[in-house]
């Protein structure tokens, strides 16, 4: 059992928790993920490491309430326990030789982008962070990003905060004004990552994307997380989750992500009914 040390709602649908898991905290690095089960009959879900404290022994997770599992996880409070927490899994984000980086985060993907930005900042790289949200009330982690970015651009779809528009606009402007990042790292919805790749392509700037497909064991056993990268089958859990954005077959990844859409909808409705009227 793994104790919830701290819990904070970042916005109405996104929650942050610090989980006491000293072995995982000791090893975790930016870009890696964990798998948890909220309860002993729950499903296994992968969540990217959003931060850690090796001395205090906790790992930070940030999750969006998208389905039954994240809803029951969100009902747990500080001092309560989650059933299982395993990691760190996957390969850390590559940082060697990168001195000037643009980090693009979309929605809850910003939870993953934050430790990556912090890592580059710590290593002394120039960090330009572009984060995008649908609207102001969904904005998360602005202060944290400010602290680790040389430049921060906040975008909202509806213009309720920061600039109105999508993340590829400031990225494209930077390229047009002659900016040549060593690398762009995009973390967010599949469609956003696909368009970040298209934006960077004319300038030949390398793009790393962080993939978050359906997964069960997270150790390479099930193959459910497979992607086509550079024409080859890769497993996000052991080969990734970071991949060369130019090689990822995004359309296939988008299709595969909806494999259980019907089931998830039913589960979500059942969970909503269950929690309705319960505080």
């Amino acid at each position: 059992m793994y104790r919830i040390l701290k819990k904070r709602r970042l916005n109405p649908t996104v929650t942050m928790m610090d989980i006491y898991a000293p072995l995982v905290a000791k090893k975790a690095r930016a870009g890696q993920f964990i798998i948890l089960r909220a309860d002993s009959d729950g499903e296994r879900i992968p969540l990217t490491v959003a931060g850690y404290d090796r001395d205090a022994g906790w790992v930070k997770i940030i999750f969006q309430l998208v389905g039954a599992t994240t809803m029951s996880l969100d009902r747990k409070e500080e001092g309560e326990y989650i059933s299982d927490f395993v990691g760190p899994l996957g390969c850390p984000t590559r940082t060697e030789g990168i001195k000037n980086v643009c980090i693009v985060g979309g929605g809850v993907g910003c939870a993953i982008a934050l430790p990556v930005a912090q890592e580059f900042h710590k290593l002394g790289a120039m960090v330009h962070t572009v984060v995008g949200f649908r609207s102001k009330d969904l904005l998360i982690l602005e202060e944290e990003f400010k602290a680790c970015s040389d430049k921060l651009t906040v975008m909202t779809d509806d213009g309720s905060y920061g600039r109105k528009g999508v993340v590829t606009e400031p990225l494209n402007e930077a390229f047009e004004s002659g900016e040549r990042y060593d690398e762009v790292i995009a973390i967010g919805p599949l469609v956003m990552m696909k368009y970040v790749v298209q934006t960077a392509k004319p300038y030949g700037i390398p793009v790393t994307v962080s993939m978050n497909p359906i997964m069960i064991d997270g150790t390479g056993m099930c193959g459910g997380c497979r992607l086509t990268v550079g024409g080859k089958t890769k497993f996000a859990c052991v080969d990734g989750p970071d991949f060369n954005g130019y090689e990822v077959d995004f359309d296939e990844a988008v299709a595969r992500s909806s494999m259980y859409a019907e089931f998830e909808k039913r589960e979500r409705e059942a969970a909503c009914n269950l929690f309705k009227g319960v505080k």
């Binding site: 072995l23 069960i216 056993m221 099930c222 089958t233 299709a255 998830e264």
Partner: protein, 471 residues
Amino acid sequence: MALQPKKYEMPLSDAKIRARSFCEVALGYSPEIAVLEAQRCLNCKNRPCVEGCPVNISIPEFIAKIKQNDFEGAYRIISESSSLPAVCGRVCPQETQCESKCAMGVKFEPVAIGRLERFAADWHNAHCGEVSELPEPNGHRVAVVGSGPSGLTCAGDLAKKGYKVTVFEALHVAGGVLVYGIPEFRLPKEIVAKEVETLKKYGVDIETNVVIGKTLTVDELFEEGYEAVFIGSGAGLPRFMGIPGESLKGVYSANEFLTRSNLMKAYKADSHTPIMHAKNVAVVGGGNVAMDAARTALRLGAENVYIIYRRSMQELPARREEVEHAEEEGVKFELLRNPVEILGYENPADKRDPKNGFVSGIRVVKCALGEPDEKGRRRPVELPGSEYEIAVDCVIMAIGTSPNPLIKNTTEGLEVNSHGGIIVEENTGKTSKKGVYAGGDAVTGAATVILAMGAGKAAAKAINEYLSKKA
């Protein structure tokens, strides 16, 4: 008494009913039948059956106890050699091991050793919970990586010699392939849990949610004071064929399909883990895993389940009993067929059609058997122009696995072969790294539960010798 030429039948649940339920297929002997079957044993002097057992159970001796109605005594004899008797009695291929050497088998059917083993273990589990005397602790610590059949066997044997053993398991529950791979109807998970509980009573610690190679490395285990490490991390990444359409929705590896159903209980209506309940299913492959996947698909409600295998029934590697059970339940065998493409549904008029991107069929080519390959198995030769389509909405690939790189990549000095399997000394499981032993599928690639147990046992013996010398 006249010699009974045939094995006493073990009752099976009705094929029509069981094909739609996850209840256990084979129901086990009653005490009366067990004693009668035990009386078939000739108790021959040279004990050929023991030679046929990868863990060398004293077979005639335990059968003699059953003859005398001393069922607990029989269990004690088995458990001296096997840490998982109730499991082996169910999933071992006895017909190619102990029973194939049985003297009775020369003229008649061999003694049903597997069924008797299962009987003794089940009787023990139902009537006695206690373990025999606990050994005196010897002060040595050993780490075991993986809680599948090889790891549990190695841990059990060492614990019984007084070692303090910790088993590290990556998943949230112990048992490895016994819980994620082999289905409930063949091996009830309650039985695996009981066997694990027995090991705990011998003092074995089981740490779940620890991935060796990620959470901790093998070198860190030594730093923490473990004096020897056994790697039984199992087979790894599922193989795919590399044919078009393998990324369509509705294509599973057998590992994923079985893990969803067995480990995550997706077959239960209230499970939070989804699984496809397909109407028509193609399972590619002919091993025990393929049979397990096919029979699971049937139980999840499929109307037609096809085993697609590129050789003939004679070469089919699955256990005969499993093939027979699958046939009785209605699994169809498309033999001498090889898949060339998986077809997907695409509605050009409606991009939002929810069926888009799901499997709609599989195209196969007919094969004939040609010259034997290096293993002596006749090689399938595709017949040009013989392709046809089978309408299915789910395809399960059960064509084996390749070793998992997690431990290899993080353990300096651990040598692996060109396939990625850990290289070991054959009779001891000793690897190229000092104090590190390995066994099971991590070494051999996909094999059987009992071979993994045999390897775990051999390694336990070698670890005991190594640490006794060291001390």
